[in-house]
Point group: C2
Chain length 446, copies 2
């Protein structure tokens, strides 16, 4: 019950609601509100309940105004109705946290559309391969579309992962929609460090009831990875090719969805995958020696959970309208990540607007839309001018990772020089100091 | 002298200034203005001179207010001081249009920075390979940094290319900075169709005075392509690998800069290159049979030159703030391209803002940040909702190509159903109807 105390806490506990649960309430003045119960800052008024609405906004309601409150959906902490699939003596326990997505979805036959579902028993029926590998605990965190994930959702997932680690499980797998899976992976990687085990995030590009589904094998590879891998990193586990022979284990801060529909859509950028899983021999194979090892004790976990939702990720293009930057400054955004061109550029006519942002204590980070390669703002005039006014170079980070990192940093400090120092710190291998030939794909199959 | 008439035209002609020239003027009320002379709409007042300032904005000045006017830089039409490099009997004429960039740049030894230069003689001294291949005509269009290109610059370049075609040259090569080269390529591809020859756009990732420069070989391949290729398309010609053995000829609407610094940064997305140039044997080799052939006559060229600069390219991300869309609507933008997630999604809480945009007659086009693959908005709920409210699916177009295409369409029509019809028309193979295994790279070198 993070942040809740006094009467509010009593009411929520009586209801059986915990952070991340969906609740519905009505107030004295006949306002009806439904949404997800969010964590609260320690310093906010004790009578306030914070709810994330479906439109993405958080709202604070005083418990004194509430006349009716109900629990809509909650299968989780403090007393989650766990589904223990199989209890075989001596096997490790793996927690599966359901966060929606195609890996747990079905075709609605009336409309032909794919709809997310998340009945634990249904999910595990689909994957007989998982038997004998571990004992499983299922917990549904959300049942939302991956495009509806927000920084607040990352917070909820991070808290659930943290709780799972502390609770003593041996492996953690998160099922997630693929659209924004890499953003969530980066978020968890920054928020939870010094991990005693890898956290596997897994999805499916084909829904689990289709014959061509990749759900079962991806889930198998994700469980194997969380149990067997020598590293303590947040990883994305997905098909390595379009055939069912191998899965890759990608570092969460270096992975990107690179195809709208292929099963091997996820690929490492400016890095090679940490490992692969041979899906025929059912073997975990380490292929990258640059990794963060597992922490010795569960209590070693560093949890800095919190994301600022007033960060914008802005793409540069010829004719980019500088009033877009002016607008973000006027609206008091807390940070801006630019997806620039080439070595980290944007039209020089935009520099004045960026300067104004920095003068307003808004950090501006430069990344590149080439995705591959490193920002280097010392080469050309525009880059040097941007450095001079205080733009922070994003090294070889993906624009998406830089966006998540800035959002994470800004929840800890708004001090510009602190933000700069943290942006330039390599926390979880989000920077790769040595880019080599092997980090660039072969583009034309001959 | 597009759009200029009467006294204004007389003054400009007397000055020797043409569209794209840099001019400087002062007014009765002591305003000093310097910038690039722009084309003018036929329906604007005859006394107005339109100048693009260095900050990217266009300004209209009445000739009656001008007390002094000077030509700063202009080496072009109507009477360009051409540099004919070599006149060898019987060889075809190739026009080289200089638009800035590293291919024509030098290190400033005082600061260590690379600065663009564009002396035709200097450029051609660097490339002895070009001798014997053609006779060359050099024309400097701009000397600007590639990140400073805007839709107005595309118009100027397109007019110069059109003039060159009509003037009777046998080949056209555009030297350009690499940061935004693919945007310009797409712009020319839409603006100039039914081409009697390929238009080669070429750049360098290493400046021409460095030993590792790719400038010479790229320029050689670009000239060979414009003279030899069987197609009449706008193409980008750049190194195929990091060694000096091959260059690729990429379709302008399907190419993207995929690395911030490598020489083989440019790669075709959702397509294979049209051709390659063997840099050892000096041979042009066609590798893609899906192309638009050369038009028989120069007069067959379809020139629809014009780009709307009130189009925004907006990237979706978790927590995307819908007020960014609201702002673009309030500011009366003419069109919005969304770089969505997966099959073409954005948070469902943004749908209302997008609906409002469309209700304001602002077309909204959906593309995908995966870059590879096709948008398919019939699969998931969010996609179907977006289709229902009138979002136009961008097929397998790059977000950047969709941005250029929408900017081009909006200069011709603002009627929503016309815009939709044109966006869904495959003008120059910007859609690839059949995506196959060969269109996806090999991501891990083993």
């Amino acid at each position: 019950m993070m942040g809740y105390r006094g009467k509010t806490r009593e009411v929520l506990e009586k209801l059986g609601a915990s952070i991340g649960c969906r609740i519905r309430l009505s107030t004295k003045d006949n306002v009806f509100i439904e949404g997800i119960l969010m964590p609260k800052h320690e310093f906010s008024s004790p009578e306030i309940i914070v709810i994330k609405l479906d439109n993405g906004y958080n709202i604070g309601i005083s418990i004194d105004r509430v006349v009716k409150i109900e629990l809509v959906m909650c299968r989780s902490i403090p007393s989650p109705p766990k589904t223990i699939m199989e209890k075989i003596g001596g096997l490790p326990i793996t927690k599966i946290l359901g966060c929606g997505g195609t890996i747990a979805s079905k075709v609605e036959y009336e409309t032909g559309a794919v709809k997310p579902v998340m009945e634990p028993s249904e999910l595990l029926e689909l994957v007989p391969e998982l038997k004998g590998l571990a004992n499983y605990e299922m917990e549904v965190v959300f049942n939302i579309l991956s495009e509806d994930m927000t920084p607040s959702h990352w917070e909820v997932i991070a808290h659930r992962v943290y709780n799972a680690i502390i609770s003593g499980v041996d492996g953690i797998v998160i099922t997630h929609g693929t659209d924004t899976m890499s953003y969530t992976a980066a978020a968890l990687a920054f928020a939870l460090r010094n991990l005693p085990m890898p956290i596997s995030i897994v999805g499916a590009q084909r829904s689990s009831d289709r014959p061509s589904t990749d759900a079962a094998l991806n889930l198998f590879a994700a469980v194997l990875t969380t149990l067997k891998a020598p590293f303590g990193e947040v990883v994305v586990v997905m098909h390595a090719t379009s055939s069912d022979t191998e899965a890759y284990v990608h570092r969460g801060v270096k992975v990107r969805k690179m195809h709208s529909s292929r099963r091997d859509a996820f690929q490492s950028i400016n890095d090679i995958p940490l490992a692969k899983v041979d899906l025929i021999k059912r073997e975990f194979i380490l292929i990258n020696n640059r990794f963060i090892g597992r922490a010795k004790n569960r209590s070693d976990v560093i949890a800095q959970i919190g994301f600022d939702d007033k960060v914008a990720l802005v793409k540069a293009y010829p004719g980019f309208q500088k009033e877009i930057i002016d607008f973000l400054v006027d609206k008091e955004f807390h940070g801006i990540v630019i997806e620039g061109t080439g070595l980290g550029h944007i039209g020089s006519y935009v520099i004045d607007s960026i300067k104004r942002a920095i003068e307003h204590e808004i950090p501006v980070v430069m990344t590149t839309q080439t995705l591959f390669g490193r920002v280097n703002m010392n080469v050309y005039t525009t880059g040097r001018k941007l450095l001079e006014i205080g733009v922070i170079p994003g090294e070889d980070m993906l624009p998406e990772t830089a966006y998540v990192k800035l959002s994470w940093i800004l929840k800890q400090t708004r001090n510009l020089s602190e933000v700069r120092k943290m942006m330039l710190t390599n926390y979880v291998n989000e920077f790769n100091p040595t880019l080599r030939e092997e980090h660039f794909p072969i583009w034309v199959r001959t």
